[in-house]
Structures are given as C-alpha cells and as structure tokens.
Subunit: 429 residues, 2 copies
C-alpha cells in the first residue's frame, strides 16, 4: 500500500504575510503506519486562514495551507487492515477508494479526550494547514492518525444522534461542496447552539422544570414552583453572521423547531450584507417572522430590551472572537444566562469584572469545536437543511464559488478584502 | 395580626467601618401585607459580614446586621390567610408560631426568576443586613415577601429532591445551630458542587457516554467511542476551606458517594489550621484516604499533576472570591473542564486572556447561590452529614460557639482578626 508518486500542485503561504504561491511539489508519502493519503476533491478557504495570511499569527516558515478538505483515500499505512483490536474501527475497515471528510484537526481517537468526545483537545492534536501539518489546499494530503481523524461517508447512518434515520443514498448524493461544510464551519455552528441549549441554566426553560430539579439526578418537579408559558420562551442572540454565524443560527433554529420550543432570535452583525443574507435565509426556513430579527449592534440592544422587558437573553452565541463581541454578549445576557463562545480569541484579557460575573450569575463556555464528535449531529442538520447548505452561489448559499487552485493567490486577496465570500478550491480544475 | 410591641436588642454597624454597637430599638412592625415578623432564636456571623465591617463595601448609614437567622413567626401581614389563589403556598398556610429558616436574600416566589428556581436573582431581590433591609442580628426581624422567602420547617418532606424520604421528627430534632447553616453557607457549598457535577462537560465522565451523546436530547451511546474506568475517574479541586469551602467539599463528597462515582479530591487553602480541619472532617466521612488530599497552593499543583499525568482537574470549585483563586482555578482545570465559582468577586477584571479560555475550552459558572431553590437538596445533605453539620465547637464543627448578642462587638473583632471561627448570636442569652 504505497502512495502514488510524482508531482502535485499545492497552495503555500510564505512568511511573514500575504505571500501566497501555487507551487509544484512531491505528492506526500506514508510516513507512519497510521497515515492515510487522501486525493483532494475540494478544499475550503476559511476565515481562520486569514490569521496567518495577514500575519496576525506569526509564520516562520512556508507551509501548505488549508484545513477543510473532502476526497478519496489513495494510500494507507501498515496499521490499516492489520486487525489491531481495541483501535478505532477505521483501522480495520477503511479501504483505498473510500470517500472521506476530515475535521480541521487531527484526533487520534484513542486518548482520553478523544474517547470521551472532546476530540478538539486530543492529546496529539494537530491543526491542518500549519508548519507542522501540511494542509488540504493541494491535490493530495497526508492525514496522520487517519483511523481516528477521518470520517468515511459510507459509514454514516449507524449513528443516530440528532440525525434520525439517514438514508445512505441521500448521503451519497450530497454535493462535495456541501460535505465540505462538515470539516469546520457547520459543526462549529452546531456546537455553539448545542452547548447553549443544553446548558443547565437553560434547562428550566426547555424542560419546564424549575432549577435545580431541571438538572437531576432526580428530575422531580417541585410542588412549590409553577411555570407559565412566558417562562418557557427562549430569547437567544447570535453575534457575528459570517459563515460560522450563519451555520450557528440555522442549527439553532433546527434544534429549537425540532424540539418544539418557543423562541425569539436576534441575529447581530454590523455589516448590512451579512444581515440581509441572514434575513433571506430565515425567510426560507420559517414563516414566523415576528420571532426573528436581524440587527446591528445598537438595534440588538433595543430589540432584546423590548422583547424581554429589559431582562436579557437566555443565551448568547458569540461567533466573532474579539472583546467587543464578548462585551456585547455580557450586555445582552440575562442573569443565569449562558454565553456560548466559539470565536477564536486573542491575547487580550477578557473584558469582564469579577463583580459583574457574580452579580449576573453568568455561565460561559469557551473554545474549539470537537468536530469529530459533533459530526453525526452536524450531518443531520446538513441533510435537513439542504435548501441552505446544498447550494453554491446565489443569495442564500454559504459557498460563493468553486474556483481553480491556480487562482488561489487572487482569491486569498479577494477574500481578505471582503470582496468575495466563502471560496472552495478545485485542485484538478 | 399585629406585631408584638416594645423594645428589642439589635446589632448595628455604623459607617465607615469597625463600629459595631448593640442597641435598643423598636420591634419591627408589619409594613406591607406580605410581611412576616420573625422572633429570632439564633443569628449567624458570616464571612461576608466582614465586607461591610471592614469598609471594603462602602456603608453610608447605620443598619442592623446579619443575613442568617432561624426563628418563629410572631406576626403576619394581611396577605396571609387571605386565600389568594396563584400565590406561593405559604400565603395560605403559614401560621403564627411556625418555625422558619430564611435564605440570606428576599425572593418573592412570583417573578420569572423565582418561578424557574433562580431565586437569588429575584426581580425584587434584597439582601438582609443592609441599609435597605434590616438584618437578623436582633431579637426580631421583618421579612418582606415572606410567603416567597421563608421556609417553614414543618413543610419539609413533601419535596424529595436529593433529600430522600425525610422523617419530620428528624427535622424537628435538628439543632437550631445546624438549621442555621441552611441560610447561606451550606446551600452555597451544595450549589458549587452541584453545578460542577451536573455540567455538560462533566457528563461524559459521570455517565460514561461520550460527548455530545452525554448531553442528549437523545442519550444514545456512540458505537465508535469506548470509555475505560480511567476515563470515568473525576479529579476535582476545591479552592478555599473557610466555612463555605468545607460545606462545598462535604457536599461534593456526599454527591459523589451517593452516585457511586470514582473520584479524587484535592482541597486547597494556604492556612494550616483550615487544611487540618478539612483533613479531620474527611477522616470522619470516608476511609478512602488515598483519594483525598489537603494541600497548600503549590502542593495542589503537584498533586493534580501527579494524579492526572499533567492533564488537570475535571472541575474546580472556587470558594474564595479573588483573582488569585481564579488564576489558580485556570491553572488546575483541564481542557473541557468546569470552574464553578461561588466566591464573591470584586471590581478587578478577571485574570483570563481570551486565547487561554479558547485553547483550554474552559467552562465557567459564576454567581450567587439561589438558596431558596437549593434548600431541599441542602437539607438532605444536612441530615445525612449531621456528624459534621450537627456539632457546635470541637475539631470538626463548622460553628465554633454560640454567644450572647451583647458580646457582638467583641466577636466581630475576633472573627475579623481570625481569632475565632463561625459564631452564632443568641439574642435572648
């Protein structure tokens, strides 16, 4: 089981910044028995690629970019088919030719964090598209710990968490451009929504059981408290309507509607075009226009005040990653509310005083989505919301265009300057 | 239903600080139909009384101190027995002569926050022992919104959350000094432990289901992940071993053992005498000495490192309320761990960089315990752990001494200088 040999095209970033080159280099080889080589069909250009492109994250040596990719297995290391018991199932079952999607980080599937589902903090975690791990904006990519990292599309359906009964033919028919959303942005949006809706401080609202009965272990309703329909209306803000924010909002609506919960959502972004896109997407998802609003930052404060008599939001999904967004999250959240932050934050201290957090009984969730673990739930939402997640181009699509990898330099610049939306590279076009 | 008339003894604090006077003043009267007048049996001196005593919280006018009290109802406002339907039950049932315990804040029982169990953020919340609301270090106290605020001891037993079948005679036999722990410090400790153990990021460990299956809505075990006994061992730190920290630790042990969970606890405090007391208490509760350690701050870092191969704690209970404790919490917690903070924090910004919180996927819970809602669970623990919570004086008791209210000035000073532990005032001694 050896790799294909020869040359391939790749996208490389050269330090310190803005220097994107499409180059020819060797096709990667199996270096470790757990490796797989994947032939790329499509690779995404993601907002977080811009951190290194702009030099806001220091780069000291050239590397192959990209952490979102879909493709087929073309070579496997010796661990595969060795029948090693106790190892992740893919080491026994993955075949050359299988179609796979990869999360944006390597996860071994075998350490404590992977076993319990916190795959983004795998003890051997590595981010694709960095100096240590070549990325997917290429014709071929080497996937370390591939039996833990990859998803084989033909396996899906055995796992029903949130996805219901999945028809394998339906999955086989999903466009590659749609599957690519599973590498990062859709699971990250799902995670933002899921950890807010399942937070114990929201359970009294969603379960109609008062705290602490809402959290168990014995879910016994108190005879002393009584809940009204008004008590069980959720008010939620989403801050940031880039691609991940759109995914978070659609995921949130999917979860709320599938559970029959009463909700009001305000989707916040300072940019007109992003708000407009969100509004059009919502109009395709639901006809309950009075429970959904897009808003600028100042409008959002007023809307939440009016909707909740000044009480605030039960939860805020923070999908931006800076201190302005965190400060707004605090301002919008109600006492005993939850801030679910998936934004990638930088060096500054967070803008909260201890007294403020105490006085409002704030709950906060920070950090990177465990994509590998969230995959089945994200796939369910991808399938149910193909009207949004299935399209390329057009007013509601998250993906604006599929372009040749040869044009990478041009599209990095257009994306960086806000002149285009999410771009996918076809390395064979 | 009029109040008793005449004079009473009270403890007053005069601004700016340290000026405690035992004075004679009028017995309080019913001022609002929802009021009750309670004749005090015992009133507590609590660590948070020292904030105003020391002037670290500004005081502009004299007030009657104290937010922990147990007593009997001696007068009721017109709302009681008026048969008002839809109001909290006590408005129909509370009788003169009933024995009651009060949480340290007023909660109406009728606003949204009270209805869903977040009683510490009642829309009309008031803290006893402040300029707006006379406290319980007195012979009599006026309790506003008494039908929502008070607990009647004879009612207990109808509510089984965590307390199991409660024998009313057992409750009737509880010493007042033990019941007084229910006003603040025991529920606050219970809350610290409960919100950590029931946090979604700990559920994979306690349920042996990997994330996100551990959080539902469909609790279906993934076929891909497999958990080992090592994965389901909880490592938890408690930072701060004052009275609330001791309550938090005992509550945590009670919950862990009653649920049959495998655990290791490190209980952290810089003060020798506090650590020693905690160690003696643990030796009374359990013979599993290898899974419990008391530690100074530096020792705690080493212990957690050794116990967890450098991974860190699943949860940290922060029961101090300053930035050193928060920084240590961050240092000790593992990726996807939970910091449950019940410490009362001040004006400084919290000592966390955004990047740190993102990189460790930290979850944080802040704020004031909803004592009124936590009461049944706290009562269950109080009853099961009478060996710790039933005693006055002695090496494991949380209450050091019951003294006459006449000696309040002396004992405020002794408590402030660390020369005595928790003191209760008997206003009739």
């Amino acid at each position: 089981m050896s790799s294909p040999v020869g040359d391939q095209k790749v996208v490389r970033l050269y330090p310190p910044s803005y220097d994107i080159r499409v180059e020819t280099t060797d096709i990667p080889k199996i270096e470790h028995p757990d490796d797989a080589i994947v032939k790329i069909k499509l690779a995404g250009l993601c907002g977080s690629d811009l951190h290194t492109y702009r030099g806001t994250e220091a780069v000291t040596q050239p590397f192959i970019c990209g952490h979102e990719f879909v493709g087929h297995v073309v070579a496997l290391g010796a661990s595969f088919h060795a029948g090693a018991s106790g190892r992740p199932l893919l080491y026994s079952t993955l075949q050359i030719g299988d179609k796979v999607v990869s999360p944006f980080t390597v996860s071994c599937g075998e350490c404590h964090f992977c076993r319990i589902g916190f795959t983004s903090r795998c003890e051997g975690s590595r981010l694709f598209g960095t100096a240590t791990t070549a990325g997917g904006q290429a014709q071929y990519v080497r996937v370390p710990r591939a039996g833990g990292t990859l998803y084989r599309l033909s396996d899906i359906g055995s796992d029903t968490c949130g996805a219901g009964e999945i028809n394998k033919e339906t999955i086989a028919n999903l466009a590659d451009s749609s599957l690519l959303l599973l590498c990062d942005i859709l699971p990250t949006g799902v995670f933002a929504a899921f950890q807010a809706l399942n937070h114990p401080k929201l359970l009294p609202i969603t379960s109609a059981l008062s705290y602490p009965y809402s959290s168990g272990p014995a879910n016994i309703a108190s005879q002393e408290f009584y809940l009204t329909p008004q008590d069980t209306t959720l008010t939620i803000a989403v801050i940031g309507l880039g691609p991940v924010g759109l995914c978070a909002t659609v995921s949130l609506i999917d979860m709320l509607e599938s559970r029959g919960l009463i909700y009001r959502i305000v989707a916040v972004d300072p940019t007109d075009s992003r708000r407009n896109k969100m509004a059009v997407i919502y109009s395709k998802l639901s006809d309950k226009q009075d429970q959904f609003a897009v808003a600028s930052i100042e409008e959002a404060k007023d809307i939440v005040k009016t909707w909740t008599d000044g009480v605030g939001c039960n939860a805020v999904l923070e999908v931006v990653g800076n201190n302005s967004a965190l400060a707004l999250s605090y301002e919008l959240v109600r006492p005993f509310g939850c801030i679910s932050s998936v934004g990638v934050h930088g060096e500054p201290h967070v803008p909260f005083r201890g007294r403020e957090l105490y006085d409002k009984n704030v709950s906060m969730e920070f950090g990177r989505c465990p994509v590998r673990a969230m995959f089945p739930m994200a796939l369910g939402i991808l399938l149910r919301r193909q009207d949004v997640f299935g399209a390329v181009g057009g007013e509601i699509s998250l993906v604006e265009k599929i372009v040749s990898i040869d044009d990478a330099k041009e599209y990095y610049d257009l994306f960086h300057t806000g002149k285009c939306g999410k771009i996918l590279f076809d390395p064979w076009m």
